[in-house]
Structure formats: C-alpha cells, structure tokens
C-alpha cells in the first residue's frame, strides 16, 4: 500500500487504521482485487446485449440460452502461484474458478485451460509444465468437472513467468440464479467448508500484485493447498442449499478471503455486517485477526441465510460432511464491524473497501521499439526448403499434438462432451434439450506483441470462427488479460490497445464481454512477458448438428477448399517465422469486421448443413499445418497446389479449410457466394504423402513421418519413449 493510499484510508476512517483494518484495506485495494490500474480502461469494453443476465463485476458472467437455461462463465489466472508451486498453484486456480461459477447457483460443467511456459528445452519449463498439467488434472478430475479443451504454448517470453489461465462454464435454470449479496439486515453469514489456516496470507496483494523478484523466498505467503475432495462436497452441499431456497446470497472466499467475502456482499446489498472471528472454524490455534481476515485457505464459501433457515443450513452441511459456522450478521447501516476475542477490532464503511478503492490512470506510451519491430521483416531471396520446414513446424510443441496434455484430464464426465479437446472448439450438449454450447479459448502472445490492438481483435474473431465451425453462433466473451508491469508506460499502452482491440472485435461481432480477469506484473527481473490476452468465447448451437464436422472425417478422393482470402502473404508473427528462423517481427494484418462476420456466418451454416465432413480453422502454422492436421487425423495424404509458398504459412484471419466430396463442390461454392466469401479449391485428399506443388518448389512429406513428428513432439520432450 502506498503512502497516498494509506492517507485515503485515514480520510475514510477519520483516524489511523488499526492493524486488522489496515490488513483489509491492503488486500482489498491490491491490484488483484481492486483492478486499480485497469478499471479505467475496462470501461471501454462493450458489456451489454439482450441476452446478458449478469455482466462483469459479479463472480461470473451469466447469459440467457433460452427456454429457461442460463450459462455462467468465468476465466481466471493463477500465474504466480503456479510458478511458486506448479501443482498446487494450478490446482487451486481450478478450485477457485469452479467456486466462482457455482457461486452463481450454476453447476460447473466444463473447464478449459490456457497454459504457457518457456521452451521445453529448459528443465525448469518441463518441471512447471508437468506440474501444472498434473495439478489441473489432479484437481479437475477429482472434483468431477471435466477439462474439455484449451491451449498450450511455449515461448521464451514465459520462461520466468508461466501463464496458467482456466475458464469454467456452468449451467443453471433461471430460477436458480444467485448473486453475491448479503441480503436483508438480520441475514446470517454462514461460513462453509474448509477450516481456516495460515494459507496464502496476503497472497492477493503480494503474489498477484507485485513483480516476482520482489517477492522471492521468505516474503512469499504459505502455499495454498487444494483439496478437491472438500470442494466436491462443498459443490453438492451448496447446490442443495441453493435449490431449496435457503440462501439469499453467496460469495466464495478466494483472494482476500474473509475480508472480501464480507465486504463485497455487504457493499452490493448496501448494508453493514458484524463479523465474529472467534466463530470461524480454524485449522490451527493462535491466528491473529489480520490473519483470519486475510487467509486464503481454499474451498470456503460464505452463504447469507435468512435467520429462520440457519438450522436447516447447518444440518444440510453436516449431512454433506462439511464444516459450517455462523460467523456474522447483516446489519442495517453500512458499517462492517469485526470482533475478535470479544473486542471490536475493525469498524469501517463496508462499501469503502470496494468502491473507494483507488483508480489509477497510469501513463501510456507507445513502445519506442515498436517502429523497429514493424520494419524488421525477413526478405526471402529464395523459398525455404518446404518439406523440412513443415516437419519442423509439426514437431514444435506449440503446434504439435496436445493429447499428452489432455489424456491426463477427464474430459468425458457428465456425458455431455460431443466434441472434446483437440479440435477448434469444444462442444457440450445440454442433456434433455436440443442445445449445444461451443467454447473456444485462444491466445497468441506473439501477434499481440507485434500489434496488441490487431492481435487482440484477431483472437476474438478466431474464437468466434472456431465456435462457428461446430455450428454455433457467438454469444459472449470472457477475457484473461496477462500483462507485464503496469507502472511502465509501454505496458499500459499495450493494455489499453488490447482493450480497444477486444472492444472493436466484439462490436464487429455484436457480442458482449461478460467477465474477465486482469493479471499484471507478469515480469521477472524487469523482463515483461509478451502482452497475452486470452479470449474465451461461448457460442450456442440449436439443434446440435447430428454430425458435427471433425478433423478425422476426411476420406481419400475428397476435395480441400479454402474459404476466405486465398492470397494472404503476411508472415509477421507467424509460427513459420518463429520456428524456422527464430524471427518475430513485422506488422500482422489487421482484422476486417465484414470479412470476420462473413466467415463466422458461413462456417456456422456449413457446420449445420451436414454438407462438409471436415472444417478447420487456419490459424497458427497457416494453411500447411491446418491441412497436415486434417490429413494426420483422417489418415490420408493430400495433393495441394499453391501459387506463392507464403500462402501456405500466412496466418491472416477469417479463413478456414473445408473438406467435401467432389460432387458437393458446387454447393460449397454456392454457400460461400451467398456470404460473399471467396472459395478456392486447394487440392484433393489422396495417397499417403503431404504433397504441396508450387510454381518453383514442391514439398513432399510422407504422412507417416508428419504424424510421427506431430504426435511425438510433446511425449519425446517429456521423456517418454515414442514408438
């Protein structure tokens, strides 16, 4: 807390704060909890649409799916904790995001993980990668929420600061919706779940709100340990309490623990609250008042219960074998009072902890190196050796087969996963209805580094196209904004540009942002990560197509078509340049709203039409990798003609590949023409080689070699024998 912020606290209280009060303000006004550097910019995001039920600011966003169904969604980072202890850091990240979703009254039904590390040549990156994947699986599998998709990326920029972002989706009926409000005066605050210990004291303010070097060693808070078993019981108990109507509001205890779980609901309700710390069930004796208020012990929820229902709530908790204690009472007025060992130890205006948090308009400055970066392009005197280039790209861990990761995740629980991990978007059905929910999560630090505004906008369009490829119409976005140190003007500039890029694309697609998370201070020893926004996009498809296009449905004799701009040659920020030449430079192409909308509409039409067995987005790796992935999955080679080799590797937006039977080529063209999208026949699926034929060069790679490279990339680097 700065001297100036301390001064504001004194002004609010009209006196010096007592230690428990100072503890509460310091965690609640931390960057992590208060969004003090980002709030000013976040206001520029479009957040409204007729189908938005709950927008940003609650525990999760909620959108209307029709027929009384709602979806709750939320994304959150756990970057620094995962660097300190990868397994527990990732596990507690999963636990936290699940609580955010069931806090809304929703049953959490699926998770997506977006994880980024340094190069796998580095033993530290391998350790972190294995630990994070283990933690996500260990927690998600055991708590019983399937992890149905995500993305993994490796780049030196994340070597000292891995990114672990997890998105959760929940489903609920409209009448089950709950908000994080304390309710009427007289309501009783019941703390449910784990006993409180000294876990992660000050985690929100220390770990997530300062750069890493400042918090080495002993300054770090005690590692939080996740207990999926406790969380599973907590989910079931809470959903029962909610469905019986015994709870009027609920708030999970995450960052800032009890402080947040009392101040926020009271602030929202415009009430006060009395909290008795002696009633909190604890894991160890001797916790001080500040410790009790700041502890980030996991798997805890605060339920606000009408006084007449307290006995029933406690009995239900006992039946589910979770601990529960009555810790407070909602009061008239607006004062949050905390009692400890019989004494009043804190007395503050409840809303001041949230609403009076400082807002900073930090200076912005276009990075001095940006012009140099844009002009730093490669000029090719001759085309590269295409065969080895392609094999090199397929063997790159960021582009390769991610099944090493998702085979460690339960992605099938609940019998809803129509399309699981490994495709462009995941597709979850809602049992008993015709509805399906498609979700895509996308990030790309490289293009955002080269142009944060264009990069962020392209991610939104990419995610929208991905859900459309399973027939869905885009509905809503959540964003996880991972950035460096906001006290540097160029980082704030990247952040501001990113917000504008997301806003532009959302306006272009007419979809709202319903929630998000900002993670700053992703830097180590003064080196900031690439600006890395991650977009999670939810789409709705109804009815779910009987056969959803999948990569493996290609057969010999079928034709390959490109939908979208056929002559893309921009290679700035491409995987091709990075993997082949270690080069990151140039300026990526701007997205185009009209082309973006057209591609999305065409893709959704085609997916629902049952005309095309395979649809695949052209993104990282370009056309060459997209075609190789179709061929590997379908077990058949391809012969493809190109006019300029750069067409094979450009990652320009709004483009996808379709596979059709030769007889259906005309219908595909007609559909494309209706949406004013260019359709170009690329070639045919045949034989057992990937054969790319150009005017001056050709590449021919045996499908078996391509498949071996692609499938072996992760297991071989993670020390497994590869057949």
């Amino acid at each position: 807390m700065t001297d100036e912020e301390y001064g504001s606290v004194c002004t609010i209280l009209g006196r010096e704060p007592r230690p428990p009060e100072l503890a509460m303000y310091s965690v609640m006004w931390s960057e992590h909890c208060s969004y003090k550097s980002s709030r000013h910019h976040l206001r520029r995001l479009p957040t409204e649409a007729p189908w938005v039920v709950v927008g940003p600011g609650e525990n999760a966003g909620v959108v209307d799916l029709g027929d009384g169904w709602l979806a709750a969604l939320r994304i959150e980072s756990h970057n620094h904790p995962s660097f300190v202890e990868p397994y527990q850091g990732a596990a507690t990240g999963v636990g936290g995001i699940i609580r955010d979703v069931f806090t809304m009254g929703a049953r959490p039904v699926a998770l997506w993980d977006q994880i980024r590390f340094g190069s796998l040549d580095d033993p530290l990156a391998r350790y972190l990668f294995a630990g994070v994947v283990g933690g996500i699986g260990g927690y998600g599998n055991a708590v019983g929420v399937p992890t149905v998709g995500g993305e993994v990326d490796f780049d030196a920029t994340y070597a000292g600061n891995p990114l672990v972002n997890v998105m959760c989706l929940g489903l609920l009926r409209r009448d089950q919706l709950l908000l994080g409000t304390a309710g009427e005066p007289g309501s009783v605050a019941v703390l449910l779940g784990n006993a409180t210990g000294r876990d992660g004291i000050g985690g929100a303010s220390v770990l997530a709100s300062a750069s890493f070097a400042e918090t080495s060693g002993s300054k770090r808070p005690a590692v939080q340990v996740g207990d999926p078993f406790e969380e599973k019981k907590l989910i079931e108990a809470c959903l029962e309490l909610f469905s019986r109507g015994w709870v009027t509001g609920v708030q999970d205890l995450g960052a800032a623990g009890l402080s947040c779980a009392t101040a926020e609901p009271a602030g929202r309700a415009g009430t006060g609250i009395d909290v008795d710390l002696d009633r909190v069930h604890v894991r160890e004796p001797g916790l001080t008042a500040p410790e009790l208020l700041m502890s980030e012990s996991q798997e805890r929820m605060m339920a606000f219960v009408p006084p007449g229902r307290v006995e029933e709530v406690l009995a239900a908790a006992a039946r589910w074998e979770i601990e529960a204690s009555v810790v407070g009472t909602v009061t008239a007025g607006e004062t949050l009072r905390v009692f400890h060992q019989g004494e009043l130890v804190a007395e503050v205006p409840a809303a001041s902890l949230t609403e009076d948090a400082p807002v900073y308009q930090r200076p912005l400055g276009e990075p001095w190196w940006l012009e140099d970066l844009w002009s730093n392009t490669i000029s090719f005197v001759q085309p590269p050796e295409m065969g080895s280039v392609l094999l090199g790209m397929l063997d790159d861990p960021s582009l390769a087969d991610p099944s090493w990761v998702y085979r460690q995740y339960d992605h099938m629980l609940f019998l809803n996963t129509v399309v699981g991990p490994g495709g462009d978007a995941s597709l979850i059905r809602i049992r008993g209805t015709e509805k399906g929910l498609a979700v895509s999560t996308d990030g790309n630090g490289r293009i955002c580094h080269l142009d944060p505004r264009r990069g962020a906008a392209r991610l939104v369009y990419e995610a929208a196209l991905n859900v459309a490829l399973s027939g869905a119409t885009p509905l809503a976005v959540v964003d996880n904004l991972n950035f460096g140190n906001p006290e540097k003007s160029e980082i704030m500039w990247q952040f501001s540009e990113t917000i504008d890029g997301i806003a532009e694309a959302c306006l272009g697609l007419e979809i709202p942002v319903v929630g998000g998370n900002v993670s700053f201070y992703n830097e180590t020893d003064g080196r900031d990560i690439y600006p890395t926004p991650v977009i999670g996009l939810l789409g709705l498809v109804e009815p779910v197509p009987p056969t959803v296009p999948r990569l493996h449905r290609g057969r010999a004799g079928m034709e390959l078509w490109l939908l979208g701009e056929p002559r893309a040659i921009n290679l700035a920020g491409s995987a091709f340049e990075k993997i082949t030449f270690g080069h990151v430079g140039g300026r990526p192409s701007a997205p185009d709203a009209a082309a973006g909308r057209a591609a999305v509409a065409l893709a959704a039409d085609l997916a629902r039409s049952q005309l095309v067995p395979v649809l695949h987005d052209v993104s990282e790796g370009g056309l060459a990798v997209a075609i190789a992935e179709i061929c590997i999955a379908s077990g058949v080679g391809a012969t493809v003609d190109y006019a300029d080799w750069r067409h094979l590797f450009s990652e320009d937006p709004h483009r996808f590949v379709a596979v059709v039977a030769p007889a259906d080529g005309d219908r595909l063209q007609a559909a494309a023409a209706r949406h004013e999208v260019v359709a170009t026949r690329l070639g045919v699926l045949e034989a057992d080689r990937l054969h790319f034929r150009g005017p001056t060069t050709t590449a021919s790679v045996a499908l078996a070699s391509a498949a071996r490279a692609w499938r072996g990339a992760l297991p071989s680097r993670m020390g497994e024998r590869v057949p």
Partner: protein
C-alpha cells in the same frame, strides 16, 4: 430392476451412472454412503470418482462406509454388484474382488478410449455377450493397473474370472494395447460366482453413439438382465 448407486463423499460419476442405467431400463437411484438399508434393491453399481478423496489409497476409507455392509450382504445373496473404476477399487479394498489396482505403469492419469475383448461370459456383465467381441470404452483413471498374486491370477484366468482384457483392433491382448500395465491385460474381473464384477473403463460413458460409442450399454444391459439368472 431396482439398482442402488451408492454415493460416497468424492464420488463423481453417480449422475452419469444413473442416467446410463435408466437408459437400459433399470430403476436406478442414488443412496448416500451412510445408508444402512438397501432392502428392496436387486443390484448395486458402485460408480467412479474419488470416494473420500482417494486419500491413503483409493477405496481404503470407502470400504468402511456404512453402506458397504449392505453391499456385502447383497453380494453374498448372489445379487449383481458392479464396481466401475473407483467402484472397482472399492470392491477390491473391501475384499469382494481379488487383487488390487495400482498406479498406472507410466504414473500418469489416462483419459482415452480403449479396446476391450470379452474373454469370459461367466460374469453378469458379460453373460449376454459373445467371447471374442471387441468393445470400445473410455478409460479414465490413475490407479487402473490391476494386479493380483501370480498364482491367484492363474487360478482366476482358469476359472473365467478375468472377463475383459485390453486388446488391439483385432482383439489380441498385446503388450502395446495395455494402457496401464494391468496383469494379463485385465480390464474387468469377477468373483468366483460371477455376480460381483469390477471394470476399470467406464461403460456408462459409452452408452450413446453421439458421445462416440454405445458399447458400454451392452455390459449394462447384461447387468440388468442378470437379475433373472441369480
């Protein structure tokens, strides 16, 4: 047929299991692990998950749950008792099935479809199937490596108690098709009278074609049909 599906704290496949059992005509209902009366139930399916957090060892704490006395009684009466995944682990810990499930050979959680060949029809889940039939079911476990003492395992094989084995696309139980190191590629085993069985992959997750496979239905149909025979 009334089938009890016991729910321990930490169980997570209970709703899927009930859904699939109802799909094959059973009257399936959830019962809490503290239940001490399963009279009226004609069969039990212990679902997958992480009962009691799988702490100490999978099934080690669950076997002492009050409901297990009733499960043992029904098993002794010859009623069909099936354990799926974690349920299999619990049946082993409870002594209703021989052997034990150790950590996977590669010490990693495995979630993917596997092929299984029917090698014995003497259990209630395979009674309605032909030997040699190849099924595809999702595997989803960390401790799925079935292991019994060598002599005991030989005796089980001879008695037809090893009922499903992991296999390749031609139904051969090869080393390469063994996902987790299970002895003799065993994926499902039964007790000597065939009314108690444990299966490591999940039949309930393969009960609708839209989700990839409906092969699991055949095992559950066999389970439901077995009531007439015992």
């Amino acid at each position: 047929m009334r089938v009890a599906v016991p729910v321990f704290p930490g169980t997570n496949c209970e709703h899927d299991t009930v859904h699939a059992l109802r799909g094959v005509g059973a009257e399936a209902e959830l019962v809490w692990h503290r239940e001490t009366d399963l009279s009226g139930c004609e069969g039990v399916v212990l679902p997958g998950g992480f009962a009691h957090g799988d702490y100490l060892r999978p099934g080690a704490i669950a076997r002492f749950s009050p409901v297990m006395a009733e499960v043992k009684r029904l098993a002794a009466e010859g009623k069909p008792v099936l354990g799926i995944c974690n349920g299999f682990q619990i049946l082993c810990e409870a002594g209703l099935l021989p052997g034990v499930l150790l950590q996977n050979r590669d010490l990693r959680f495995i979630c993917r479809p596997v092929r299984l060949v029917v090698v014995s029809t003497s259990s209630m889940i395979t009674r309605a199937l032909q030997p040699g039939t190849v099924l595809t079911l999702p595997l989803n476990s960390y401790e799925g490596n079935y292991t019994a003492e060598v002599e005991e395992f030989a005796r089980m094989e001879a008695a037809g108690q090893v009922v499903l084995r992991y296999c390749d696309e031609r139904g051969r139980p090869t080393r390469a098709s063994n996902p987790n190191g299970s002895q003799g590629n065993a994926a499902a085993v039964a007790n000597s009278s065939g009314n108690v069985a444990g299966v490591m992959p999940h039949p309930e997750r393969a009960s609708e074609r839209v989700l990839g496979s409906a092969d699991g239905r055949r095992l559950l149909e066999s389970f439901v049909a077995s009531r007439a025979r015992v």
